[in-house]
Symmetry: C2
Subunit: 391 residues, 2 copies
């Protein structure tokens, strides 16, 4: 059996994602579509609109055969770490071809990355702390060589996948196939005509969205997000956290470095009544993107230290599959090297799954509907099995 890999957030799963899965299967002639999906939090440092289990259900109903979780330590990170985590998992599952949507599907991302990578490695100014600005530095090099920068979010992600493949030593084994993104731009905020809308537009839509998503997703969307994203409510917890945590302890938090811990504490101490909007405007700086700041605040809220992040390892957490997916996993069993967590044991919660467990606890705790407050994210959870109906 041949598998094709997708790297996703499905926040939430919509017709564009179904199209992506179907195209991926078709252009690669794959038997199974495997997706690595962010868990309860997305790359921008926000909780996903629905928890990982509900998003998995939608994905399986939408034509995906296997859904694996991209652990928090990779999912809520800059693009290059996000990409390395996702590729590591897909590679271990025997996936050698990845299909992704791109604004410029005509580009050969791997070839571009190889050229840029060589230039960068040869470059005298190559920095030790390159990880922070990897993508930017690559883009700078790219511009000097090929005369243009990658500016669109999906192009940039594709480029990050190629860079990750090179960094992991799989550049010649992994095939990256871009497909043209249709219609809706990544960040488009309003609903277009047709059947495909961006996830951003769907999350904020107040009108009926059943043209763009499955009936199940439309139903859930009409109930509102499962948990509130950054807002005064979440910010209230952050304020409590910052006010009651000594600055030396805040400084242990991942990426709360370079005086950021002190600045955060000072801002909130001097004005504990500040709103989320006003706070953001003050805390933002040219040096950090909005996504980076939100991620950092999420690490703070979850008390995730640099040490913990350093120790986090990738693992295989199957969230759901159908019969075909199950068959594929069986076939791959021998070659899998990463630890597999299908049933979560007590020790996993304090070891491998530590960060995801904590993140899931917060997600669940902040759930708006009582039904989901009692819906454990990790303890005693087993992968969803999706029975396909004959078509």
């Amino acid at each position: 059996m041949k598998a094709v890999g997708l790297i996703t957030e499905y926040n939430p799963f919509h017709n564009g994602h179904a199209y992506h899965a179907q195209q991926a299967r078709q252009v690669t002639n794959a038997d199974v579509v495997v997706t690595v999906m962010s868990g309860n939090y997305v790359q921008r440092g926000e909780p996903a609109i629905f928890n990982k289990w509900r998003r998995t259900e939608l994905a399986l109903a939408g034509g995906v055969d296997l859904v694996y979780e991209l652990p928090f330590a990779f999912a809520v990170q800059p693009a290059h770490i996000f990409a390395e985590g996702a590729l590591t998992i897909l590679y271990d599952l025997g996936v050698r071809e990845i299909v992704f949507g791109a604004e410029h599907a005509e580009l050969d991302f791997m070839a571009l990355a190889k050229v840029a990578h060589k230039q960068l490695v040869d470059h005298a100014d190559f920095k030790q702390d390159y990880r922070q600005t990897y993508a930017t530095q690559f883009n700078d090099v790219l511009e000097t060589i090929i005369g243009f920068r990658l500016e669109n979010p999906n192009d940039l992600l594709g480029f990050a996948y190629a860079n990750a493949a090179i960094a992991l030593g799989w550049a010649d084994e992994m095939v990256l196939t871009p497909i043209q993104r249709v219609k809706a731009g990544y960040h488009d905020a309003s609903l277009p005509g047709g059947h495909i809308a961006s996830a951003t537009a769907l999350r904020s839509a107040s009108e009926d969205v059943s043209a763009y998503v499955s009936p199940q997703a439309a139903d859930w969307l009409s109930e509102g997000p499962e948990t509130y994203a950054w807002s005064d409510k979440w910010f209230d917890l952050l304020k409590y956290k910052v006010l009651t945590t000594p600055v030396e302890q805040l400084e242990l938090i991942y990426q709360l470095n370079d005086g950021l811990a002190y600045r955060l504490k000072r801002l909130i101490e001097t004005n504990p009544m500040v709103t989320w909007d006003d706070f953001q405007a003050t805390f933002k700086s040219k040096r950090y993107t909005q996504a980076r700041l939100q991620r950092t605040l999420l690490y703070t809220l979850l008390q995730i230290t640099t040490e913990e992040m350093k120790q986090a390892r990738p693992y295989l957490r199957l969230l759901g599959s159908n019969g075909k997916g199950r068959q594929y996993v069986k076939q791959q069993r021998e070659s899998i090297t990463l630890p597999t967590l299908n049933r979560v044991g007590k020790d996993d919660l304090t070891d491998l799954l530590q960060l995801d467990f904590r993140a899931g606890q917060l997600y669940q705790y902040c759930a708006q509907q009582i039904a989901y407050q009692s819906f454990s994210q990790d303890v005693r959870r087993q992968p969803i099995f999706y029975e396909e109906t004959e078509s």
Copy 2:
């Protein structure tokens, strides 16, 4: 000038407290009445009904000449540490006579404590970790010698003051004078006739309380407590805290020992929807009093570690005075040895005042009325000066 000392919580200040101050002045023939008052949290591990500045205002208006803060590290502790903190401050201020209300004012508390202390020290089973059960052990000894136990809360406090004086080596210098408590019992929950009601009854009264307190206090009481005590709202912050803090970090918290950290985490993890009432019923045990548990949860909420508590030192924080009080402080200036914090500097917030600052931040943050949310507890605060009107 001669001073008499009182040890108080004033939660809130009422006619019984005014009577206490007046009696203290009279029976000791003192020129000034100095009180050491708990700050924003009381001994039972709860926030006070009004912040320390408002409670100071009421005390000054009620006939007290000087109000000093009993720092958090002593105020929110078992009786023997509470008493040692208060005595240390009063002693340093030149106070050698303390007047306190007792259910059995006919007892000579110092004499009893001396006998009990001697027996206890001579006793073969004297334990290293005696601090936890000091009062109980003393009481056990007391029963064997004098045939009865002290069961009433104010008698027990008086006994704790005497023990503290002995422990600090001031047994022969300090005079402890009990006065008979009038009418309302310490914990009486309903309002009595007359002009004196317990603070407990006043806090929970829904009817008019102006017979028992000053007009200012009656006005404030009618607005409700400044911050909510232990309730689902506070408990929500605690749950967030426990869910996002690894157990090894919880174990660093003062008194969250003997597997209590693990038990706390487990209880909340397995049932994040538990209410405060249900939680209390489950978490309580024969080994710990309700007050001890509430204090421990407050330490947790404030992330106060054993190490921090060990390093906390007493200091003199003047909250308010009148002209006579000011004159007395001037007179004592030479003999004062404790650090004095009349104006709080930046370094104080991270050093001497660290715990009280953090505790004040939480208090202020949880204030129900916006007016008090912006009312800084420590930064840039100066003692209140109360101008007496000619009478």
